[in-house]
């Protein structure tokens, strides 16, 4: 058996990529809404979004497992869409990851939107721009730094996920077995040399991602 398998790396990258994309699609309007709303539900919703920051991943994974099971609410709704179960599937993994990494995308975006503030939007509106137009012509270009941070953190955090994936994804090689779990397996089987290679690779990868992020952020800072 080869010491190193490519599948876990590919699955990890695919999961991180898909999760980040989904998070951008969901997180952007959510962050925009949170940045602008005056409803009294804002605080509880912010708390819910932030929950994954403090909850043990196993707690989140446990509830997701129950919800995703064919008897669970989400599982039953899912059965109308697809014949495949949500648990122990890549789709289930993506949903779990999206929830788990939500604050890492929503919070920087929300901060960035709030930083732009009302004044510029009022100026744009008084010049005849409709709200969606303002979002795309003023808010989006001015919050690219927030997006950069959100994408980096969302991606990196998904790559580093373990507990939630283990709970709802199981450990199916070639389907739901991601890097962090592969390392765990190797350690369990006392295959330290393989664990070393994966761990070092993940360490290096994480370091490079953060380096790139910080360097780019600094360059943007200097340019502004």
């Amino acid at each position: 058996m080869d010491l190193i398998q490519l599948a876990p790396i590919l699955i990890t990258l695919k999961l991180a990529l898909v999760t980040t994309l989904v998070l951008l699609v969901i997180g952007t309007p959510l962050a925009w809404w949170l940045a602008n709303t005056q409803t009294r539900y804002k605080t509880p919703i912010e708390a819910i979004v932030a929950l994954p920051l403090v909850l043990p991943p196993t707690v989140l994974g446990f509830y997701l497992l129950i919800a995703f099971s064919p008897e669970g609410v989400v599982g039953q709704l899912w059965s109308y869409i697809s014949d495949d179960p949500l648990t122990f599937s890549f789709t289930g993994l993506v949903i779990g990851s999206v929830i788990y990494s939500l604050p890492f995308v929503v919070q920087p975006l929300q901060a960035s939107f709030e930083g732009i503030g009302k004044p510029l939007q009022q100026a744009a509106a008084s010049l005849g721009a409709k709200p969606l137009d303002i979002f795309f012509s003023v808010v989006l270009p001015l919050s690219y730094r927030g997006f950069f941070v959100a994408i980096t953190l969302g991606f990196a955090h998904t790559v580093g996920e373990f507990g939630v994936v283990l709970m709802i994804g199981g450990n199916i090689p070639g389907l739901t077995q991601v890097l962090s779990i592969t390392i765990y397996d190797h350690v369990e089987a006392l295959e330290y040399s393989a664990a070393h290679i994966y761990s070092a690779a993940l360490l290096l990868f994480s370091f490079i991602v953060l380096m790139v992020a910080y360097t780019a952020n600094r360059k943007i800072n200097i340019r502004l």
Binding site: P119, A124, A125, S126, L127, G128, D133
Partner: protein, 356 residues
């Protein structure tokens, strides 16, 4: 065309309750102490604020009518707004900023002579720059031109010069004067600076504690409401036309309604219309006409009212026929001259002409 407004909005410890109309042309000054609700009122007019009662009409267009559930959205109102901070879009060039509103007009309305407007506001050399490369005065010029290019029916200028230094203010004033002359857009102008007010204003709306105290023609109102500028020290204004110029002594004679005024050092032209600003602290009162005084202007007046003032000073309101003249004097002078309503005195003062 007239412009009508009626807004009511209550906060826990402040109520805005305004009803007034302004002419459909020229510059209307919105004047009042800070915290009196000017910005809230402007935001109501611009559609940025929700209110309990709202009615707004520009000519035949109704912007707000709460009773009929009409509230035109900000982006459809055609109310231009230039703020103290120019609020340019930092990621766009000057040209892109300028065209932001214009490109959002209907195709048929995009028929302004853009290059001419760039020229009017001296923007030709700035078009490729980004906002952070501009000075404060240049930014405001861009903001003004950007608002005009969006073809507003009404333009709000909220203290557009307040963030600028003296020379930048002087540089920008003529551009603001061109707005209603060249583009015939009615302007609501907020300012605390009495000089700006006199140089720009045609009519005035006086505001205090969320309510409109008075409104009407600027000069008429300032003559009958001389306490207008309490904040900067009371002052009053006069108006007239230059009747004579003595080149040698550099003195211009201005014919006001009831008397002649002599102004030194001002470069005026004959027959020119001028507004004259006099600070009440520059007006002294004498019982006899001083024959040997360095003061050029001495007019006979009658005391109408004595307003008690803080810090041992009193404002004495006098009149010469219909012209109001006010003076700030100490309690000692008040007692010494035994000033009472009805007393006839001479007022002597220095004055500054402001060209509108």
């Amino acid at each position: 065309m007239a412009i009508e407004f009626k807004y009511k909005k209550s906060y826990p410890n402040f109520t805005l309750d305004c009803q007034f109309s302004i002419p459909g042309s020229g510059v209307t000054i919105l004047f009042g102490p800070s915290g009196c609700g000017k910005s809230t009122l402007l935001n109501c007019i611009a559609g940025l604020e929700k209110t309990q009662q709202a009615y707004a009409k520009i000519g035949k267009t109704i912007l707000d009518d709460k009773e009929k559930n009409i509230r035109i959205a900000v982006h459809d109102r055609r109310v231009g707004y230039v703020f103290q901070d120019s609020r340019l879009f930092s990621h766009k060039t000057v040209l892109e900023n300028l065209l932001y509103g214009y490109q959002r007009l209907k195709q048929a309305e995009q028929n302004l002579d853009i290059t001419q407007i760039f020229k009017t506001f001296s923007l030709d050399d700035l078009l490729g720059s980004y906002p952070h490369q501009l000075s404060g005065g240049q930014k405001q010029r861009v903001a003004l031109a950007r608002a005009i290019l969006s073809r507003p029916c009404l333009l709000i200028l909220d203290e557009p010069l307040s963030a600028l230094d003296y020379s930048a203010k002087q540089e920008l004033l003529p551009y603001i004067q061109t707005i209603h002359k060249e583009f015939s857009i009615p302007v609501i102008y907020v300012s605390h600076d009495i000089k700006e007010v006199l140089q720009l204003g045609d009519s005035i709306v006086l505001m205090k504690e969320g309510k409109i105290v008075d409104n009407g023609d600027l000069v008429d109102l300032c003559v009958s409401q001389p306490l207008l500028t309490e904040q900067e020290g009371a002052s009053f204004i006069l108006e007239g036309e230059v009747s004579k110029i003595n080149e040698q002594e550099k003195i211009s004679t201005v014919q006001c309604k009831e008397f002649e005024l002599h102004l030194s050092g001002n470069i005026l032209e004959e027959d020119q219309y001028v507004r004259i600003l006099v600070h009440a602290k520059d007006v002294s009162l004498t019982l006899d006409k001083a024959e040997h005084s360095s003061i050029l202007n001495i007019v006979p007046v009658e005391v109408i009212k004595i307003h008690p003032e803080k810090n041992g000073k009193h404002i004495i309101e006098c009149c010469l026929e219909k012209t109001k003249i006010i003076s700030v004097i100490s309690i000692r002078s008040l007692n010494k001259l035994n000033i009472k309503p009805g007393l006839k005195l001479f007022a002597q003062f220095k004055a500054t002409a402001l060209v509108k």
